[in-house]
Subunit: 156 residues, 4 copies
C-alpha cells in the first residue's frame, strides 16, 4: 500500500460549499458512514457546475460520467456536524477532469477526509467521449490547484 498522505488544510482548496449532515448518515457505529462521504463529493462537484451554468442536468448535450473515485478517511464526522466541502481541479484533460475534494468538520482546519472524483465527459445520448465543453473548461481553470509539492505528491 502506498504511504498514507497527510490531511489537507482549507487553504488547499479554492472553492467551498457548506453541507448539512443527516441523522441517517450515521451508521451503527455512530459516525457518518464511509459511503456518505461520496455523496458529499458528488454534491460539491455537481452543484458547482450547475450554479455556474455549465451543467443543465436534464438537457446538457454533454454530461460527466464518473470513472473513478477514492477517499481517505482521517477522523470521524458525526451528525449533526456541518461539513465544509473544498473543491479543486487537479487535472483538466481533453475529455476528463480530476476533481479533488476535502471534507472539513465544523470549524476544523485539517481535513476529516479527502479524495478524488474523475469525470469523463460524454455525449448524453451516445455515451461516446466528448471534449470538455469550452465554458466548463474556462470555469474549471479557476479551480486548478497551483501545483504545490504537496498536491503533486498526492497523485504521482
Amino acid at each position: 500500500m502506498s504511504p498514507r498522505p497527510q490531511p489537507h488544510t482549507r487553504s488547499d482548496y479554492p472553492h467551498f460549499r457548506e453541507l448539512t449532515t443527516r441523522w441517517l448518515d450515521n451508521d451503527a457505529y455512530g459516525h457518518v458512514n464511509n459511503v456518505v462521504y461520496y455523496a458529499y463529493f458528488d454534491t460539491v462537484v455537481n452543484q458547482f457546475l450547475i450554479e455556474h451554468g455549465v451543467l443543465q442536468v436534464a438537457t446538457s448535450p454533454v454530461i460527466g460520467l464518473v470513472v473513478e473515485t477514492q477517499c481517505r478517511y482521517f477522523s470521524p464526522i458525526t451528525f449533526p456536524d456541518t461539513v465544509w466541502a473544498g473543491l479543486r481541479v487537479a487535472h483538466l484533460g481533453g475529455s476528463s477532469v480530476r476533481y479533488e475534494v476535502g471534507l472539513f468538520r465544523n470549524g476544523d482546519q485539517s481535513a476529516a477526509a479527502q479524495g478524488h472524483f474523475v469525470h469523463v465527459y460524454v455525449e448524453r445520448e451516445s455515451r461516446r467521449p466528448a471534449g470538455v465543453p469550452d465554458a466548463m473548461r474556462r470555469l474549471l481553470q479557476m479551480l486548478q490547484s497551483s501545483g504545490s509539492a504537496e498536491t503533486r505528491s498526492d497523485h504521482s
Copy 2:
C-alpha cells in the same frame, strides 16, 4: 381516501432548520425522490433534540422509536434547492410525541410537502415503553402548535 389537505405555510411552524440537498437525492425522474423527504424529517427532529441537549445518541437511557410516519407531496424539490424544514409538536402524550414537519423549497411560503413522525419513547436496553423525559417534555411544549382549525382538521 381522505380529502387532500392544503399545503401549510411557514407561519404554521415555530422552528426551522435549513437543510442542503444532494445530487443523489434526485431520482431518475430528475426531482428529489419521495423517500428522501423522510430523511429530512428524521434530521430536523433529531437535530432539534440533540442541539437542545435532551438527546445523547450514544448514551441517553430513553430513546425514541419511530412507530408511524406519513408525508404528502405537493410540488417538487430539485437538487440543488435548499430545503427549510419546519417543525411543530401536534401531540405530546405520556410516552409518545407526534411531530409534524413541513418542507419548504428555497424561499417558498407554501410547503412542498408536509407530514408527521410519531416517536414512542422506550428504555434503550429493554425497548420497553418509558415516559417522555421531563427535560424533553418541557422543550417540546415550546413546539406545540396553537390548535388552529387548520391544524386540527389535518389529523382529525
Copy 3:
C-alpha cells in the same frame, strides 16, 4: 391519533419481492432506519411495473408521481436480514393508484411494517394528470385486494 392497526400477514399480499438490506440501512440505534422502509416500498412498486413491461423509466409518456406515503412500524428489521416486500393494490382510480406494501423480516409471517404509496399518473413532459394506461390498469387489477374487512378498516 387513529387506533393502531394490526400487522398484516403474508396472505394479505398477492405479490412478493425479496430485497437485500445494506450495512448503511442500520442507523445509530442499530436497526434499519425508518426512512429506508420507503426505499423498499418504492422498489417493490416500480420493479413490478418495469418487469411487467408497463413502465419504461426513460421513455414512458405517462409516469407516476408520488403524492402520499405512509408507514407503520411494528418490529425492527436489522441488517443483514432479508426483507420480503408484499404488494397489493387497494384502490385503482381513473388517474391514481393506491398501493399497499407489507414488509416481512426473513421468514416472519407477521409484517414488521406496512404502509401505502399513492401514485398519480401524469404526462411526463407537462406533468398534467393522465389516465392510468390500459396495460397498467389490466396488470394492477391482478393485485387488487379482495376487500376484506381488515383491508377496509385500514384506510377508512
Copy 4:
C-alpha cells in the same frame, strides 16, 4: 493518472453475495449513482464478517474503521438489475485488512466496477489500534487472492 486497469472476471473472487438494487439507486442520469457502489462494498464485507460469526455489530470489542476506499467504474448498472458482489482479501496485515470488491451486473462475467476497502481494526471504546482478532484472521485467510500477476499489478 495511473494506467486504467482492466475489469476483473468472476473467477478473480472466491466469495460472492447477491444484492438487490433499489429505485433510488438510479440518479438523474438513469443509472446507479457512483456513491451507491460503496454501499454494495460495505455490505458484502460486513455481511461476510457477521454471517461467519466474527463481527457482532453491537458488542464486538474490536471493530473495523474504514481508512480508504476506491472504486473504478467500467459500465453502468441500472435498477432493477441484480448485483453480484465478489470479495477477496488482498492484504491481511497486523491490524489492517485490504478487501477488494468486484461488482457484476446480472449474469455478466466482466466487472461493471471494482475497487478496494481498507479496514483498520481498533478497540471499540478507545478507538486505538488493535490486532485483527484471531478468528477473523483465520476466516480472512480463506479469502486471500492467490497472488496472480493481474492482482499484483492492480495495487503495486
